[in-house]
């Protein structure tokens, strides 16, 4: 079936089997390889993307339901030249070891920080409950997310002053 997908602000027309999970279309058809195939069962979180503001597991998300939805992948958070606040913070805190889980971690964090830029550790843990990391960089990931929240607040602050 032909389907129109809005990913990172761009519209893509793809022709896919309607039973395909979103992840496969992102990676194979759109060549957005940030989201990873980990378990394929919605258990590890490495395929996490944001749909309409909420973190979802793209490996168990039917692509057929994604028309008209706003999809954001890790590629949508910034570029190599201009990394976004989450990417900057993850680099600054050296939060990746093998890095396989990181795009998923970032997308769960992105959904959280969009709602709340000063999350408590408990809130971060709850938001990342479905993301697994086998290297053990959890504490650095936590630190990076707190840092990203700070960066987002700093970025928002001058405009608030102007507005005030």
């Amino acid at each position: 079936m032909a389907i129109s997908l809005n990913v990172n602000g761009e519209t893509h027309e793809v022709d896919v089997d309607p039973a395909t999970p979103l992840l496969y279309v992102l990676r194979n058809d759109l060549e957005l390889n940030g989201a990873k195939f980990g378990c394929g069962l919605g258990q590890c979180g490495s395929c996490t993307v944001v749909v309409d503001g909420a973190a979802v597991l793209s490996c168990v998300t039917p692509v057929s339901l994604m028309e008209g939805r706003e999809i954001t992948t890790v590629e949508g958070l910034g570029t190599i030249e201009e990394p976004g606040p989450l990417q900057t913070a993850f680099i600054e805190m050296q939060a990746a070891q093998c890095g396989y889980c990181i795009p998923g971690m970032m997308m769960s964090a992105h959904a959280l920080l969009t709602r709340n830029q000063q999350p408590s550790d408990r809130e971060i843990r709850d938001a990342l409950m479905t993301n697994l990391c086998r290297c053990g960089t959890h504490m650095r990931i936590m630190a990076a997310i707190r840092r990203a929240g700070e960066l987002m607040q700093q970025a928002a602050a001058p405009s608030e002053r102007r507005a005030g």
């Binding site: 079936m1 089997d17 309607p18 039973a19 395909t20 999970p21 394929g40 069962l41 919605g42 258990q43 749909v51 309409d52 909420a54 973190a55 979802v56 597991l57 490996c59 168990v60 998300t61 039917p62 692509v63 057929s64 339901l65 028309e67 408990r122 843990r125 409950m129 479905t130």
Partner: protein, 467 residues
């Protein structure tokens, strides 16, 4: 003159009724005592009390998730209004620290607090009245040796007349069958032990037996299925909707481990129950299973044959997934059954038709009680909210689909599953049910697959030390 005589007669009658009701409703205060010295209880008694408290699942209602254990304050929505559980830590002012053992025994037996006030039957004293004095003594020892927590629960939110506790005397007159458990001498010792635990402290029937409009369990529909905290508590009598009939062995395994290969994992409030039962010796678990299996009875030949067939199918390996047809998937268009099949193929089949065994793989839906139950609430809950992981240990998990599937999507998916994996008639009003569940209009409590005390970060109680 005649008028005055009638008036006098009416007044006297009212007075007699009032005095009668007062006599019925009035309970004396039991004098407060100084908080018991924790070291005055023997270690064995406290340990026995801990096991009994686990059977009673006391912690589940008397704890706000993430807050200190037994400090109360959990809001319990009932059809009559919201009741908040009490603080049962030994704090003398806000808990039960100044309760004598006599006062505790009376509360368990009669549903009356130390000061003589009637307690609401959200505290299941209609079951706890069966508990022996000896077991109550152990429970008292266990509670009196917990960390005292100073915490006053919020006021109950009950409209008139439910806010008047004396009316509970009338309720008790009608519905409380007070007194200890009477063993059935025709049954084995094991069966009687199981019946004592299940009907008394275990209070299985508080959720698994339907309630009448006065909130009392309907004893003539014993274990006929009820509800708790937004979940269906399935019938656990002859009407059990489980595709594979339960027996003593499968029940015992399930109660001990929180899952069974032919039945899946416990979830919702039952996750707390199976989590708590981990403290019990095997003999007690088997006793409960023996009793409940006997209430369920032997399945008839047809049901047994169907179960054999299903087990053979499931043993053959991954089930076939119905090929997803190419249809217009915009909500409202196309055949809903086909939309459901499509969603199933991309969202569910990976686990539920996969090869990973229980409890970490998905259960075959042909074996699922949820898909075969008369009411779809539980499968709606699981699809929307998933099964969150427990902390620091391997546990069954399922992703939540609330942010992926619309109300119509969930309804179409469930209609497909019901059609495909059950012989039971289609469910009705699915879209409305999904919408009310998603909005919180119908409130659902979501718990990880393990027990409350093993998953404190997510759900249960902290021991008071952490926060």
């Amino acid at each position: 003159m005649r008028f005055i005589r009638i008036l006098a007669a009416v007044l006297i009658l009212i007075l007699i009724v009032a005095v009668g009701f007062f006599a019925l409703a009035w309970r004396s205060e039991i004098e407060p005592v100084a908080a018991a010295d924790p070291s005055s209880f023997s270690e064995d008694l406290v340990q026995q009390g801990a096991r009994l408290a686990a059977v009673g699942n006391c912690i589940a209602c008397h704890t706000v998730p993430g807050q200190p254990a037994f400090a109360g304050g959990l809001a319990l929505p009932t059809p009559f209004g919201t009741i908040h559980s009490t603080n049962i830590t030994p704090d003398p002012e806000t808990g039960i620290g100044n309760w004598s053992e006599e006062a505790f025994q009376r509360a368990m037996r009669e549903g009356v607090d130390r000061e003589g006030r009637h307690l609401y039957p959200a505290f299941p004293y209609d079951h706890y009245t069966r508990v022996t004095d000896e077991d109550n003594r152990a429970l008292y020892a266990f509670l009196m040796t917990r960390e005292p927590v100073r915490s006053t629960p919020p006021e109950n939110d009950l409209p008139f007349p439910y806010n008047l506790r004396p009316i509970l005397a009338g309720w008790k007159l009608l519905f409380l069958d007070e007194g200890p458990f009477q063993p059935d001498t025709a049954q084995s010792e094991e069966w009687n032990r199981g019946a004592y635990l299940a009907e008394g402290l275990g209070h299985c029937g508080a959720c698994h037996t339907p309630r009448n409009r006065f909130g009392a369990v309907e004893s003539d529909r014993h274990f006929g299925g009820g509800e708790a905290e937004g979940w269906q508590a399935y019938a656990i009598n002859a009407n059990s909707p489980a595709p594979i009939p339960w027996d003593t062995d499968s029940l015992a395994f399930y109660l001990r481990n929180g899952w069974h290969q032919w039945h899946g994992v416990s979830r919702g409030p039952m996750a707390e129950v199976t989590g708590n039962l981990g403290l019990l010796p095997d003999s007690d678990i088997v006793a409960i299973a023996t009793y409940v299996a006997s209430v369920m009875g032997e399945p008839d030949e047809a049901r047994r044959a169907r179960a054999e067939e299903l087990m053979a199918q499931a043993a053959e390996g991954p089930g076939e997934v119905q090929a997803a047809p190419a249809v217009d998937t915009q909500a409202g268009a196309g055949n809903p059954q086909d939309r459901g099949a499509l969603i199933y193929a991309s969202a569910c089949a990976g686990c539920h038709n996969g090869s990973k065994p229980q409890p970490f793989g998905g259960l075959r839906f042909s074996l699922s009680t949820a898909v075969n139950a008369p009411n779809p609430q539980n499968i709606v809950n699981v699809v929307l909210f998933g099964l969150p992981p427990s902390d620091g240990q391997a546990s069954a998990v399922m992703p939540a689909f609330a942010n992926v599937l619309s109300d119509q999507d969930v309804a179409d998916l469930l209609a497909h599953m019901r059609e495909q994996y059950s012989d039971a008639p289609a469910w009705e009003n699915l879209v409305d049910l999904v919408a009310r569940t998603r909005s919180g209009d119908y409130k659902v409590v979501i718990l990880p697959a393990d027990g409350i005390e093993r998953g404190p970060e997510n759900i249960g109680a902290s021991d008071g030390a952490e926060e």
